[in-house]
């Protein structure tokens, strides 16, 4: 063996080991932590334990924490458990391979793990018909409105406690929502449809300063956490840390990022629990300018609201800030410096036009910036998903065995080598899926099975060529080398055309089919690598033996 070949061997072995580690979180066992409420009853514990029968799972209890180990623990299961009475929260622990090599459990599509898929279409026609000059909205305006609506929806779904939701724009006019494990579409539809909560509450500067101080001392991360659970945890920690009185509450002040357009928490802010003015006290809101020419939201209150407003803006509160809280997020906190008794006022504060627009809409009706209609709705029950996985795995195993047996019979040793290649192919395919975070769907499993058939094609092409060369009287070494070289272009061109269709399919965009296109694409690329690199290497090793006169083919 030459030095180059030894390196090649090491490289191939490392690659295989790496791929196997990558798929461990998917095919191996996982652990889920279920935290029960302090006052959960014995029946409630039993109900959770019953969901995980002892044949397939190991459940251990330590205080109010249940630890569940087993396969088939996915986001849908986690979300489902969260809806059990007595359960505070549930989290799937990271697999050790995830920390080691950035492996991830393969995302399962909703068709495999169960859940709800919604497409909401923005009703721009309504806005256009209501606008004064009946102006058509530009594509940019549409996309901005959709983006804002998407943010609001995200907030509401976050509040709902669904883990791993996927909320994406589809084009400029629609929003696609995927919620694994959600069984009751009505509850979610309601959460999406309800108007946002707007309220106005006074800010406590003293405690806000304390909260900021506490954070500086105890929280060392650069930015506030992104995960809702961690955000809530931090708020609870601050509340405890600064010994906040019960009539006050700490929330985050959120701002919209310039680049990502996302709103993210900036700093903690302490508010009085008492709602000074409710959203329903506001009568009308419109976009205008402040005295410096900046954009501002003008509004008028109802008669009742005017009294409340006069009260809040009375001299005793001058210098204090009044926070505008939208869905439990402080979005703006202007300082009070004049009493307003007329029931008409404005909010200014370095806003962009979109922000003023959203704020106006929210103040006005506490609603989404554009009405959304559900145009597509799909729910898959968890048991159907599980059945589909089982059916897919069964079909895959049968398909693989069929091909392996046939190849071994037809090509003898060469067939076995191709069979090993096929297994490697499947491992690499899964590894790439998990590493790049693609979603596996039922058609995706079909893609894996189909590529198994196509992957052997490369071997068949090569072997047939080798046979021909051997029949033409070439030596084993020559036959191997020419077999691979001559088959290369046929394999490459053939796979490339299939890749073109897979690529086009991926543009189709709807979940399951995209999953198919993805596994097909990965499978084709991987199969070329396995056939032309790894199998070839095996044959190079075999033909190292100069005495070999016959190939088992």
């Amino acid at each position: 063996m030459t030095r180059g070949m030894i390196y090649k061997l090491i490289f191939i072995l490392l690659l295989i080991a790496f791929a196997i580690v990558l798929i461990l979180p998917t095919v191996g066992e996982n652990t889920m932590q279920v935290s029960m409420n302090g006052d959960a009853t014995a029946e409630q514990y039993e109900a959770v334990k019953k969901k995980f029968p002892s044949g397939a799972y190991i459940v251990t209890q330590k205080g109010a924490e249940l630890t569940i180990t087993g396969r088939n623990l996915n986001d849908a299961v986690m979300n489902d458990v969260r809806t059990f009475p007595g359960v505070r929260t549930s989290v799937i622990r990271k697999h050790w391979a995830e920390d080691l090599v950035m492996a991830k459990k393969i995302n399962l599509g909703l068709d495999l793990q169960g859940g709800m898929h919604l497409v909401l279409q923005a009703d721009f026609a309504k806005i256009e018909s209501k606008s004064v000059d009946k102006k058509k909205l530009t594509e940019k305006e549409k996309s901005e409105l959709t983006q804002q609506a998407l943010e609001l929806i995200r907030n509401r779904i976050d509040k709902f406690g669904v883990a791993e939701p996927s909320i994406r724009p589809r084009g400029n006019e629609a929003i696609e929502i995927q919620l694994p494990g959600v069984k009751d579409p009505r509850a979610v539809k309601k959460a999406i449809g309800t108007t946002g909560q707007v309220e106005y509450r006074l800010v406590d500067d003293e405690y806000t300063a304390k909260a900021g101080e506490w954070l500086r001392r105890n929280y060392k991360e650069k930015a506030l956490p992104e995960e809702p659970e961690k955000q809530d945890k931090l708020l609870a920690d601050i509340t405890e840390g600064i010994q906040l009185p019960n009539n006050r509450e700490v929330l985050y002040h959120w701002e919209r990022q310039k680049d990502s357009k996302k709103i993210i928490p900036q700093y903690p802010i302490v508010l009085m629990r008492e709602v000074a003015i409710a959203g329903t006290d506001i009568n009308k809101a419109w976009i205008g300018n402040d005295e410096y020419g900046g954009l501002a939201v003008h509004f008028t209150t109802t008669a009742e609201g005017a009294t409340k407003f006069a009260d809040v803006t009375a001299k005793k509160n001058w210098g204090k800030k009044l926070a505008i809280v939208i869905d439990d997020k402080v979005r703006s906190a202007p300082r009070l410096n004049v009493q307003i008794t007329s029931g008409s006022a404005m909010i200014n504060g370095n806003f962009t036009y979109e922000e003023v627009n959203t704020l106006t809409r929210i103040i006005k009706e506490g609603a989404l910036p554009v009405d959304l209609n559900i145009i597509e709705e799909r729910t898959v029950g968890p048991s159907l998903g599980q059945d589909s996985i089982e059916a897919g795995v069964k079909a895959a195993i049968l398909g693989f065995i069929g091909i392996l047996v046939f190849m071994a019979m037809y090509y003898r040793l060469a067939g076995v080598i191709a069979g090993v290649g096929l297994v490697l192919n499947a491992i690499f395919q899964m590894a790439i899926l998990s590493w790049l975070g693609f979603t596996l769907t039922l058609p995706g499993i079909a893609g894996i099975i189909l590529t198994a058939g196509m992957a052997v094609d490369a071997n068949v092409l090569i072997y047939e060529r080798m046979k021909e060369e051997l029949a033409n009287g070439k030596s084993v070494r020559m036959a191997v080398s020419m077999g691979f070289d001559r088959a290369f272009w046929a394999i490459f061109d053939g796979n490339l055309t299939t890749l073109i269709s897979a690529f086009v399919l991926a543009q189709f965009g709807t979940g399951p089919i995209k999953g198919f296109a993805v596994t097909l694409t990965i499978g084709l690329i991987v199969s070329m690598f396995v056939a032309l690199y790894i199998t070839r290497f095996v044959y190079e090793l075999i033909s190292l033996n100069k005495k070999i006169k016959r190939l088992s083919i």
Binding site: E365, R378, L450, D457
Partner: protein
């Protein structure tokens, strides 16, 4: 070349004839049984998969849901009692009702003023008296009337002319909705369509009622005495909710496994993009083949591929397979796979044309097909093996997909041999004749 060469090209006209007759048979039998069966993905509608108790069969479900004229089909193993219930969007669906009524009105009463509908439909919790609802609406210039099921408190709230004629109406949809939500606990805002019409002279109310009935809508007179204003309205109920409720009413222990609800906009969007995808693939592949080989090869390959896809679609009609997104994916896969097969032969033909300059093109093609024959059959057989496993065991979501793929691949194997190369040769002959 020591091997015996099979004169494939000799049989090409038989092959053409075979393909054509296959196509005719499929189309004819497909047409007899209603033509292509487009799934809810493409036409919109609902699809529910539900598990029932023992003893339930397709007929019983169909009877219980007769009002929706659903398609019911048992799936999976018999002991599971699982059924797919599909209802497609009908022409008189809520999405089209409004447009239809407006069109009819315009045709019949050209000078009539038709406003934009802005009535609100609400469902109040418990029993609420109409007078009570109206009492709360003072100041909003609105009026509520009870509609629908008498046992439920369903109301339509619409714009009323203000008492003081000079004042602008205070009515807006949003205000009414917010008002109802805040006054009545647990009030639900329902979906519905309304078309307010104002006539300047008396009209035949019976005719208007007939028009409403034609589209399953209702009509009510709104204005005061001496005015001729009416509102056409129709509650839009989520059909899948209604079907689910009806299933629960008629059968014990129904377990809904999955639901799909696709609106008409999605359907037409998907239809368009499916078509676009197929065209884009054809263009991309033609370009690639023309670049890698020569244009004549492109022609041969594309004709073969189109042959496969068209026959596969015809087969769907013949076998009654519902065309849904997965089936389109299968068609596109057939597309790629069939070209793949063809390329292997073309690759050989090209190689041989470079080596053997003395032999005629026909002989080169024949011998190239012959030497790649074992590979073509072997590969197709192995891929078919895995697709067959999918077809057998893949479950409901995948079996149609696998069936189309199975058919397409067999056809693809045949067209690779009998269509692609002969067409390539014929195209060349045609070109030569044009040139000379």
């Amino acid at each position: 070349m020591k091997q015996r060469t099979i004169p494939f090209l000799k049989y090409r006209f038989i092959a053409y004839g075979l393909s054509l007759s296959l196509f005719v048979i499929f189309v004819a039998s497909g047409l007899i049984s209603k033509g292509l069966n487009l799934g809810v993905d493409f036409v919109g509608g609902q699809k529910i998969i539900a598990r029932f108790e023992k003893g339930v069969d397709e007929g019983k479900i169909r009877k219980a849901l007769a009002a929706y004229s659903p398609m019911v089909q048992q799936i999976g193993e018999a002991e599971n009692h699982e059924f797919i219930i599909t209802t497609k969007l009908k022409e008189d669906s809520a999405f089209t009702t409004e447009g239809n009524i407006r069109k009819d009105l315009e045709a019949k009463y050209p000078k009539t003023r038709m406003d934009k509908g802005d009535a609100v439909f609400v469902l109040l919790k418990g029993t609420v008296d109409t007078n009570k609802v109206n009492a709360t609406l003072a100041g909003l210039d609105a009026e509520a009337r009870k509609i629908g099921d008498p046992s439920k408190s369903e109301y339509i709230i619409f714009k009323k002319e203000p008492a003081d004629k000079k004042k602008k109406s205070a009515y807006t949809e949003d205000k009414v909705e917010n008002h109802v939500r805040s006054v009545f606990d647990g009030a639900e805002i329902l979906n519905g369509i309304t078309i307010p019409v104002v006539f300047d002279k008396p009209v035949d109310e019976a005719a208007l009622n007939g028009l409403a009935k034609k589209y399953n809508a209702a009509l009510m007179k709104t204005g005061d005495e001496g005015k001729y204003s009416y509102v056409f309205y129709k509650l839009v109920v989520d059909e899948s909710d209604r079907i689910k409720a009806d299933l629960d009413k008629n059968f014990k222990n129904v377990k809904i496994m999955s639901t799909e609800n696709v609106g008409p906009a999605v359907g037409s969007f998907l239809r368009q993009s499916a078509l676009k995808l197929i065209i884009v693939s054809i263009i991309l592949m033609t370009i690639y083949l023309a670049y890698r080989f020569e244009f004549r090869y492109s022609v041969g390959a594309m004709v073969a591929v189109l042959h496969d896809v068209i026959l596969s679609v015809a087969y769907c009609g013949f076998a009654g397979i519902e065309i849904n997104i997965s089936v389109v994916a299968a068609l596109l896969t057939i597309f790629g796979y069939s070209v793949n097969d063809t390329i292997v032969i073309f690759d050989r033909i090209r190689e041989n044309t470079q080596i053997e300059t003395k032999i005629s093109m026909v002989d080169i093609v024949n011998s190239s097909i012959t030497v790649t024959m074992s590979r073509t059959i072997l590969t197709s057989f192995l891929t078919l093996l895995s697709v067959f496993a999918l077809f057998l065991l893949g479950g409901e979501g995948i079996s149609d997909f696998a069936q189309v793929l199975l058919f397409g691949m067999i056809i693809g194997c045949y067209s690779t041999i009998y269509i692609a190369s002969p067409v390539m040769l014929s195209w060349e002959k045609l070109m030569q004749r044009i040139r000379s």
